[in-house]
């Protein structure tokens, strides 16, 4: 039972670190604590948040998905192209955009599961090619001129709460339920913990891998549509570099890059830490170059902590 305690300790420490960060900024960054600002932080992280749920699932199996940023781009520009250039209905275009994300995820899954290409290589390849696809779709020029009603997804509110935040919370909730309480979720953990054991238990390993990449793709596609609706611009650069922010948040949240360990509970805190950190630093008008330095430092700190809490466990 020692093991259980040390995990709780770890999550507690992460949460404590988050609170500390909030306290620090509420003292040194004026206006940080204002509710509008806090909601703003939540809205800013919501896109990364949605993507990080899919990433968590992939990393739990011991994989990685570098293509999420490119998928965000393809889903957003693809939907924009359908809405503006082909004049398709908004909802239909959005759904097709999301499915496009899912299809790219499935492609990742097929390459990993059927052709045994390591996830790092597979998704590096799709990341590169599908960023290219965004440029092809838009011919390199941002797409404008969306119907105002489309903005509701990314800019609307329910009461005081921004809709993207609600979407993010719903995705986290569903993800948690899936990982914690469904067979598929437990098999994801099992696969990450010991692939051979999972195989010998009679699981269809290939199918699980296929599924996790498809889920990651779908969620990235979904995030792409929300992002498009927030910006109302279908630029080919959308989502560039997201993969790094997402991986950072996930690892920060205590998910082991080796697979099998970690919970979405922690990841949401990781996402929030990232958001609070950039928001606070912007309010304090810290030089952007130093912001990078701080971010990197925080990541190293968190992962170092993760490693050490693991050592005490043994």
């Amino acid at each position: 039972m020692k093991s259980k305690n040390s995990i709780d300790m770890k999550e507690f420490a992460l949460f404590f670190f988050f609170l500390l960060l909030c306290v620090f900024f509420s003292i040194f960054a004026s206006g940080f604590l204002r509710p509008t600002n806090l909601l703003n932080v939540a809205r800013q992280v919501s896109i990364i948040g949605i993507v990080s749920v899919g990433m968590t699932i992939v990393i739990l199996t011991g994989g990685i998905d570098l293509s999420v940023g490119a998928i965000v781009g393809v889903a957003a520009t693809g939907a924009a192209f359908l809405m503006i250039n082909l004049k398709l209905p908004i909802a239909l275009s959005a759904v097709i955009g999301i499915l496009l994300g899912g299809a790219i995820g499935l492609l990742n899954g097929i390459m990993v599961a059927k052709f045994n290409i390591p996830p790092l290589i597979t998704t590096l390849a799709t990341m590169t090619s599908f960023r290219g696809v965004s440029y092809i779709i838009t011919k390199g020029i941002p797409i404008y001129g969306f119907d105002d009603s489309f903005a509701i997804l990314g800019q609307g509110y329910v009461g005081p709460i921004p809709i993207p935040v609600i979407i993010m919370l719903a995705v986290f909730l569903l993800g948690s339920l899936m990982l914690g309480r469904t067979r598929f979720g437990r098999h994801v953990y099992g696969l990450g913990g010991n692939e051979e054991a999972a195989r010998l238990a009679g699981l269809d390993i290939g199918k699980i891998k296929l599924m996790v990449f498809a889920i990651s793709g779908l969620l990235a596609g979904f995030a792409g549509i929300v992002l498009l609706s927030r910006l109302m611009t279908g630029a080919p650069t959308l989502g560039t570099g997201f993969e790094m922010d997402v991986i950072t948040a996930v690892v920060l949240g205590g998910v082991s890059i080796a697979g099998g360990e970690g919970k979405l509970r922690g990841v949401i805190i990781g996402v929030l830490i990232m958001g609070v950190l950039s928001n606070g630093m912007i309010i304090m008008s810290l030089d952007e170059n130093y912001q990078w330095l701080v971010r990197g430092f925080v990541l190293a700190l968190a992962v170092g902590f993760d490693r050490n809490s693991k050592r005490t466990r043994n």
């Binding site: 039972m1 020692k2 093991s3 259980k4 339920l177 309480r181 469904t182 067979r183 979720g185 437990r186 098999h187 953990y189 099992g190 990450g192 913990g193 010991n194 051979e196 054991a197 999972a198 195989r199 010998l200 238990a201 009679g202 699981l203 099998g260 360990e261 466990r313």
Partner: protein
């Protein structure tokens, strides 16, 4: 005579460079415990993997219930009621005991996993086996012995008709072995058929009905246990009569000085332990599992922190705070849990053997490939390691042959004190003899050995001197002719009731609560 439950007909399987199984015939009756024995690499594990669907045979037939199959998928084998405990533990460290037991077959309620029921049923299964464990504990936090218990629970929790056990007792101590045998007898009365693989031949006489001997991928003989007297089994296994199990003992010169001396060692479990080791001596450490033998050598080696005590080498006090210090002082330890603590599965046999001794082979700034090759081939030959070449990856070796590779590494170490913790676990009889011979050779080169073993006969057979431990204390010392089973048992027996370790009589609950 009714047809057997299961029959293998002319089953073959080749790996690149090896014919692991060559036209094997095998049959299993209902309610029979059928032992499978053979040297390391004889093909035992390969056969069971074919039965569980983990791998596929190249040719041959499997007949079950009169139906003929070319092979099974894993799922199909499960559905047909074939369960297995593999030689390598196959658990998922990050999941709980209950989740491991029911992995892939989780109970559901309203589409969600029913954890309450899972824990309840897992508890029941373990209790029926005679163990009490916290089913919520993560498997990774258990020791090897308990992992094996979970693995067994996993196999019997299924609706099995055929249970295959590949060296189930290797990590277990006497207490748990007794419980396993009770379980096997009970399963047998329930009509379950069992295939039982072990290198501890004595066990077979307790539970088995028939024995099949494999050698080099062929079936040599199947005998009723009554006709399978131990000497006969051994000669069938190794293909020649093995006259002695132990090489003749080389006496230690009486003038031989003390090379290593530990005084008043204390740590979590150890209470004031002292020992002396002479040059050119094999010193045995006997005791029940949990008596503190491993702790003593780990304390000397600097692997565990100690709270008191001194270590002297050649009369001079030395400070050892880490294994690195120990190695610099010429003391090395072959750890008990080798799979996790020593092998690089993806590297070659040769790399694995010489890895920590590369300095020994350095010539100018390069490695002397010729002398590496010479030493490695020498070891492969003398330990009879079954591998297609020294460049073969260790991953592709059979379980016992992987063990031999690590032993070889320790034999090649440039050290004058070599400590072996359970050196022959999982190793076949023929190779054991070779290991003892190599130990004797090291000894005559003036090196000193400390050997821990749960196999009492082995300690009696090879030790020049022997300490018996009990509950973290040295209970006594036996020298030369005085070393015998009765004396050891008398000293090792625990008459106090301070049982504070897993495996020590009846402390099952203690572990789970850790």
């Amino acid at each position: 005579m009714p047809a057997p439950l299961l029959e293998l007909k002319s089953v073959s399987k080749s790996w690149p460079g090896v014919r692991a199984l060559d036209k094997i015939d095998f049959s299993l009756e209902r309610g029979e415990v059928h032992a499978l024995v053979g040297e390391n690499g004889a093909g035992k594990s390969t056969m069971i993997k074919i039965l569980t669907g983990a791998i596929h045979a190249d040719e041959g037939q499997i007949i079950l219930d009169g139906q003929s199959y070319a092979g099974f998928s894993i799922k199909q084998a499960q559905n047909l009621g074939i369960g297995a405990i593999y030689q390598e533990l196959n658990l998922i460290p990050n999941l709980s005991i209950a989740e491991n037991i029911f992995f892939g077959r989780e109970f559901r309620k309203h589409g969600l996993v029913d954890f309450a029921r899972m824990h309840a049923e897992a508890g029941t299964i373990l209790a029926r086996m005679g163990f009490k464990l916290d089913t919520r504990a993560r498997v990774g936090s258990l020791g090897t012995a308990w992992e094996q218990v979970v693995e067994i629970a996993m196999a019997v929790s299924k609706n099995i008709r055929i249970l295959i056990m590949d060296e189930p007792t290797a990590p277990l101590s006497t207490d748990e072995v007794t419980k396993l045998f009770e379980l096997i007898r009970r399963l047998k009365t329930e009509g379950v058929s069992i295939i039982y693989i072990s290198h501890r031949l004595e066990e077979l006489y307790e539970i088995c009905d028939r024995v099949t001997v494999f050698r080099d991928g062929t079936r040599i003989e199947t005998l009723p246990i009554g006709e399978a007297e131990k000497g006969r089994l051994i000669s069938l296994m190794v293909g020649r009569p093995l006259l002695n199990q132990y090489p003749p003992r080389i006496p230690v010169p009486s003038a031989s000085p003390t090379i290593l001396e530990a005084e008043g060692l204390r740590s979590g479990k150890l209470k004031d332990v002292s020992l002396k080791l002479r040059r050119g001596e094999i010193l045995g450490l006997a005791g029940l599992v949990g008596a503190g033998r491993t702790e003593v050598v780990r304390a000397i080696y600097g692997a565990d922190r100690r709270s008191g005590g001194r270590v002297r080498k050649n009369g001079k006090e030395i400070s050892i705070a880490s294994p690195l210090d120990a190695i610099r002082q010429g003391i090395v330890l072959l750890p008990e849990e080798r799979k996790s603590q020593g092998l690089f599965l993806n590297l070659s046999v040769s790399d694995n053997m010489v890895f920590p001794n590369l300095r020994k082979y350095r010539r100018l700034a390069m490695l002397n490939a010729k002398s590496i090759r010479q030493d490695v081939l020498g070891m492969i030959d003398s330990l009879r390691i079954k591998t297609s070449s020294e460049r073969n990856r260790v991953l592709f070796l059979s379980g016992g042959n992987q063990q031999k590779v690590i032993i070889a590494r320790w034999m090649l170490m440039e050290a004058d004190v070599i400590i072996f913790d359970e050196p022959t676990r999982g190793i076949d009889v023929g190779a054991k003899f070779e290991i003892y011979t190599l130990m004797n050779k090291l000894k005559s080169e003036g090196k000193s050995l400390i050997v821990i073993s749960s196999d009492m006969q082995e300690l009696i057979g090879i030790s020049d001197r022997l300490y018996v431990m009990c509950n973290g204390r040295m209970k006594g010392e036996l020298v030369g002719q005085d070393i015998d089973q009765e004396r050891i048992l008398r000293l090792a027996a625990d008459f106090s009731d301070e049982t504070d370790g897993p495996g020590v009589s009846g402390s099952m609950e203690g572990v789970a609560a850790r």
